[in-house]
């Protein structure tokens, strides 16, 4: 490490971190504190202050089979959509890295979906994949009933996975491309002289050396699919059919704001938060260690 810049004046130092602390406090610690408060209390049906109820809200959550369903579909969704978006982004990045004609243009074009709000993405997918009128409806003219996310749970799950994957592809693409381009050219040239063809070079060099970046986008994608998929589910499937796409984050919303049970929703938020934290810790502890070389 080089020399650090230090401020002789403590006041400037404090003044510089205060805005950031304020932001973090307002948008993270305060809401988290509120959620904790809600999770351990109950609002009496006929008014009055909240009453402390200990773990009761959590017990309610864990005794509800619908909740386990929600955890299950969330996991399926997370793994499915992450796999889709990372593999597709990787494919695009590998192509762009080989500098096929026009790569400068689509390098930017790929990133745009990420700038769209989730509900907008959801709306687009709902129209494109509508069983009666969308582009995909052609399938149904040849194989009647083959595609109907409104009644078939698997179709619905596939649809929200696709929508979320499409949204994340650009983001993943940017990181993977940067990872590929930071690899010394000479390394791949040496491999080419050593006799490795393009596919072999991808397998033996580009993928292994990209592992740290892959790991990073993996963490981001999994986390994002747990906490940020609400907009898509809301617009595309509304949790249905028959709770087939009732992701945890969506259930929190329906229980809290539709069912008006803030305490139950808060308890679920806390669980989801802990889950994401645990997931991230596990990934960093056990996977990251295996992907560093130098």
């Amino acid at each position: 490490m080089g020399k650090r810049v230090t401020f002789g004046n403590t006041f400037i130092g404090i003044a510089l971190i205060v805005p950031q602390l304020l932001l973090v406090f307002t948008f993270f610690y305060w809401p988290t504190g509120e959620a904790l408060y809600w999770a351990f209390t109950l609002e009496p049906p006929f008014g009055g202050g909240n009453q402390w109820v200990g773990w009761q809200n959590f017990e309610t959550v864990f005794s509800d089979p619908k909740y386990y369903n929600s955890v299950k579909v969330s996991l399926i969704f997370a793994v499915g959509t992450t796999t889709m978006s990372i593999s597709f982004a990787l494919l695009l990045a590998l192509f762009v890295d080989r500098q096929l004609p026009g790569y400068r243009v689509y390098r930017f074009a790929y990133f745009w979906p990420y700038a769209l709000a989730a509900p907008a993405v959801g709306l687009a997918f709902r129209f494109i994949f509508a069983p009666q009128a969308g582009f995909v409806s052609a399938i149904n003219t040849y194989f009647p009933g083959a595609w109907n996310p409104a009644t078939n749970g698997n179709d619905a799950m596939l649809l929200i996975m696709l929508a979320n994957a499409w949204k994340m592809v650009g983001y993943n693409f940017i990181f993977l491309l940067a990872g590929l381009q930071s690899m010394p050219r000479a390394l791949l040239e040496a491999a080419a002289l050593d006799g490795a063809g393009a596919l072999r070079r991808i397998r033996d060099f580009q993928l292994p050396l990209l592992a740290p970046t892959l790991f990073f986008v993996l963490v981001i994608n999994l986390t994002e699919s747990f906490v940020d998929s609400f907009g898509i589910v809301e617009i595309v499937t509304n949790g249905g059919p028959a709770n087939a796409t009732d992701l945890m984050v969506f259930k929190i919303y329906t229980d809290g704001f539709v069912g008006k049970d803030y305490s139950l929703a808060a308890a679920q938020s806390i669980i989801l938060m802990l889950l994401v934290v645990a997931l991230t810790v596990v990934q960093f502890r056990f996977i990251e260690r295996r992907v560093q070389y130098t």
């Binding site: 010394p184 000479a186 390394l187 040239e189 040496a190 491999a191 080419a192 002289l193 050593d194 006799g195 490795a196 063809g197 072999r200 033996d204 060099f205 292994p208 050396l209 070389y293 130098t294």
Partner: protein
């Protein structure tokens, strides 16, 4: 084993041409150094031989086969890169053996050949390490071993020693030459370090701005530079250069004062021609006899010493001849030259170089020079 033939090869990036028609024949088993200043196209030529750059025009043949359209792996070249380009996620053994693995060589055979290559470059004890755990010199050896193990037709080196410190560089230089004497594979070595080129190569190719200035043995390159560029590039400090005019009676009149004796038969010139006159610092003779005989008419230049550098065995003296910078190299054992004092200097006629002022080409009579 193969000869390499480069015929009128050009390279353009978009509209800019960076290699302007290069022709070079490298006989089988020859060690060739491509020498030139930064950006002159050395690496580009090397990379076109390897197949890492497309050839815009012209032809490259290896072992009689035109390779323009062949993939790098089909050309049978091994290359040592400037930054070694080792595979960071593989052990040294896997780095060295990768080419064999791709070629489908059986595991036992592979291990045997990897160990043999490692022994050649004294790496045996490091086979299980990763490149990140090696010193610069050791990495360089891994890169060498990786090239050796394939038993390639042609070795290509792109400034492989430039990241090493001076001492290690000299040692590796010697080792590369030793290795070549043993393996006798055709080698092309790109460098901008003249000492490297002159000590390693059988044949030195001097490039400048995308063209070849001269192809010659190290000795001929030094003694008979074909152009002003080569004369200035080879030798350190560079050759003293000054304009002059050929006079009757075997002399050249230096602009700004002074005269030097030459042998007119050595050159293709006529009386009255304006030329550039070159004299290597180490060819300069101090003319103490004539110090106070300026009027005797003996051809010589006036030199005023300004600065002395002791380099161990040699002493360099920088100063001025007239208004021009002038350098002299002499054995450290010779008497000191007091600063500020005017001395008269000259050189043996055979050691004086003349160049055309516009083309920069040497005016030496080639047939005669070769007969010597």
């Amino acid at each position: 084993m193969a000869d390499v033939s480069i015929r009128n090869v050009r390279k353009s990036y978009g509209k800019t041409e960076v290699v302007h028609g290069v022709s070079l024949d490298i006989p089988d088993g020859t060690f060739v150094a491509i020498l030139g200043p930064s950006g002159c196209g050395k690496s580009t030529v090397l990379r076109m031989i390897a197949g890492l750059e497309t050839i815009t025009a012209g032809e490259i043949a290896i072992g009689g086969q035109v390779v323009n359209a062949l993939e790098p792996r089909e050309r049978g070249c091994a290359m040592v890169f400037q930054n070694y380009a080792l595979y960071p996620h593989m052990t040294v053994a896997d780095n060295i053996g990768y080419a064999l693995k791709v070629a489908g060589v059986a595991k036992a055979e592979r291990r045997r050949r990897v160990e043999e290559a490692a022994r050649t470059v004294e790496l045996t004890e490091f086979l299980d390490r990763r490149p990140g755990q090696l010193s610069g010199g050791q990495r360089q050896r891994v890169a060498m071993a990786r090239a050796i193990v394939r038993e390639p037709k042609v070795f290509l080196f792109d400034e492989p020693l430039s990241n090493l410190d001076a001492k290690l560089r000299a040692a590796m230089r010697l080792e590369i030459r030793r290795l070549h004497n043993r393996l006798k594979a055709t080698s092309v070595f790109v460098t901008h370090d003249q000492a490297e080129a002159l000590t390693l190569a059988d044949l030195v190719v001097v490039m400048n701005a995308g063209t070849i200035e001269q192809i010659a043995s190290p000795r001929d390159l030094y003694r008979h530079p074909a152009s002003r560029f080569v004369a200035g590039f080879i030798g350190s400090p560079p050759m003293n250069m000054m304009p002059g005019v050929i006079t009757a009676g075997g002399g050249v009149e230096i602009a700004g004062g002074g005269r030097l004796a030459i042998d007119l038969d050595d050159f293709d010139i006529e009386i009255g021609r304006a030329v550039d006159v070159g004299m290597r610092p180490e060819d300069v003779i101090l003319d103490s006899r004539m110090q106070d005989a300026a009027a005797t008419g003996q051809p010589a230049l006036a030199f005023t010493a300004e600065l002395t550098e002791e380099l161990g065995a040699t002493r360099l003296i920088y100063g001025k001849s007239g208004a021009r910078d002038f350098a002299i190299a002499m054995p450290a054992s010779s008497p000191q030259l007091p600063h500020g004092q005017v001395t008269r200097v000259h050189a043996a006629p055979a050691r004086i170089h003349l160049f055309d002022q516009t083309t920069g080409l040497s005016l030496r009579n080639v047939a005669r020079a070769q007969a010597q």
